[in-house]
Amino acid sequence: MNKQQVDIFPTKQGDGRPLNMEPAKGVLSHLSALEVRARSRQVQPRQRSRVEELRARAEALTVQRDRLKAEIHAHKGIEKHKTRLNNRGAAAAEEEMETEDNENEQLLHLIARVMDLKQLLYAHHIIGGYDITKTRRGKGICVTLSTAYEGVYLETYNMELDVGPTLKISRHNVPPFIPLGELCEPAGRQKDLRGFLDPLLTRLNAFAGRRQQLRLVKELHPSVTVMESNMLCSILVILLSTPREKTTLLCTLNYTDHTRCLPTGVHFDCEDKKLLESSKWKNNRKLLMETPVHKALGAMKNMDCIG
């Protein structure tokens, strides 16, 4: 404790300098320092508690193992039951014979049924059914619409609907330029959920597709410059350069049909009109009309119509 030798009292001759002494040094602050050190020493031997962690982990694992075992057992039971049902056909008469563990039978029945239903639901997903969850104790449902383009999954949109006398959208995260209202309006009145969801899904898919195309154009064709586009991706103006004629031409694609991801109108602009008259560019227009734009551009590049 040599710290307490620090002089507690100031130099008595009054020099104008601010007092430069640390009164808090000394026994009291030294004690605090000691306390801190003691604490740090105490925290050090962490091993013991580490061991505990491991023990806890082991505990958890054993529990899990037991549960799995139980499940396996149940499965076995069900399989047995199923086979028995099958080879026994619908001979319900003998069922009374088996007096032993009757309620067990019931249980197995139920389990089997649940599993069948689960599988059904899964199948339903596979074939593109909607993924619907009940909310607010059945007063509402939540629909999940996942979009995809060329086998790539894109954004997922959700919607919460009130299933009252009429369908009502309570909330959603569908982008604002998709006219939800007018889609919901007719279907909502005669609670035709599919009639509402199907067109919506197609629109969303189309939109996602168009946006994906735009993205692909940007990254696959650096030579092509995108002059104009909009949020809905309903219009796309791109600048093409022709290597042979050494001119540039402006290509405008209109997607007026928002349910499709192919353009409804393609229009070229170029100073020398006869180039546009050429059959090659007629083909190009056709190509652009029928194939997704990034693919079309790829094809055109191969035919080196464009650079």
Binding site: D131, T133, T135, E160, R171, P176, E228, N230, M231, L232
Partner: protein
């Protein structure tokens, strides 16, 4: 004209903080590199403005260039002044087909029909947003560039964001807007605030929303506490539920920085202890305002930490759900419970 430009430039210099001034000028790119270098940013705004004026005279810059500078600054820091949101309704059939070029010239021409002496400047931002700067004048006076109105619109979306708009100009603007965007009407969205991006994100739904789903959402994992072996939360699952509900109501992740909500109560005064008020026939009017740095996040925290009871009352949850921060609450004719009416 000349000195209008000067005063505008002076005003700009006064408005823009020194630290932004440099970058803004660079973006503007109307000054030569040399000029930009020997600007001394330590001197007073006053002297600085003089210097800039001198340069712009050397470079023969006109008012339009200065307005350009202003737009650049405003687009980069939009969070100043009150922004109000409006909603376009009943689109025409060809509304979705509207594209920038035609919108531009339609809007300008219509506005010019309505008022002479108005100068409009449009600029499309990288995020598809169309920024419109309108300097209003009237039949006799030249456009006043000192107090321009700013309008932001995303084509094909029904939302329009406006700042610095007088009621007189409002009618004119909405006229032009309706026609240019092929809609039949425009109405107030009852959403306003200083933070532009917050308002935009709220209406355009550019924030993470959470929906009930079969599969455990990310929330649960995200909010798992680092489980030390011998710390046990007694009411853990209740907590998770609260959080789920809160996030469903207000959204997950970072939320738009909405800063205030106003409830205008026009309900009957009910208090057994106070007869005189309770007997009154006409509703008891009062205004309740919530303010916070980030209101939605604080509300969410209130709900998730159980300070506010769950399920969350529609009074709160309909702020994000309906994207508005001004509500009028009136008594339902049947039943005492108060409801929200989108009146006004």
């Amino acid at each position: 004209m000349e000195d209008q430009m000067k005063s505008l430039l002076r005003q700009l210099v006064r408005r823009i903080p020194i630290r932004f001034l440099k970058v803004t000028l660079e973006k503007w790119g109307r000054l030569t590199v040399a000029q930009q270098q020997n600007i001394d940013f330590t001197q007073t705004k006053w002297a600085l403005a003089d210097e800039l004026i001198a340069y712009s005279e050397e470079n023969r810059l006109t008012l339009r260039h200065i307005t350009e500078l202003e737009m650049i600054y405003v687009i980069d820091n939009p969070n100043q002044g009150m922004w109000h949101a409006f909603q376009l309704v009943d689109p025409e059939s060809d509304a979705p087909a509207v594209e920038l070029m035609q919108f531009k010239e339609q809007f300008k021409s219509h506005l010019n029909e309505l008022v002479r002496n108005v100068s409009v400047k449009m600029k499309k931002n990288t995020d598809e947003a169309v920024w419109i700067r309108i300097a209003w004048g009237d039949s006799c006076s030249r456009p006043n560039n000192m107090r321009p109105t700013y309008v932001v619109h995303y084509l094909q979306t029904p939302y329009v964001f406006v700042t610095r708009l007088t009621s007189k100009q409002k009618t004119l603007l909405s006229q032009a807007m309706i026609i240019a965007t092929r809609h039949q009407a425009i109405k107030d969205a009852h959403l306003s605030g200083r933070n532009f991006s917050a308002i935009r994100d709220l209406l355009m739904q550019e924030y993470e929303q959470v929906f009930p789903a079969k599969y455990p959402s990310a929330l649960v994992e995200r909010n798992q506490i680092a489980a030390l072996p011998n710390i046990e939360r007694e009411q853990a699952e209740a907590e998770v539920n609260r959080l789920q509900m809160a996030c469903e109501a207000f959204g997950g992740g970072k939320l738009p920085q909405l800063q205030s909500v106003v409830y205008k109560l026009e309900t009957k005064f009910k208090d057994p202890s106070n007869q005189t008020f309770t007997e009154r026939e006409k509703p008891f009017n009062c205004v309740v305002t919530f303010t916070s740095k980030n209101l939605l996040e604080s509300l969410r925290h209130c709900a998730s930490s159980g300070i506010a009871s769950t399920p969350i009352t529609p009074l709160l949850s309909s702020i994000p759900r309906r994207g508005r921060n001004y509500f009028v609450i009136t008594d339902k004719v049947s039943g005492p419970s108060s409801q929200i009416n989108p009146t006004v």
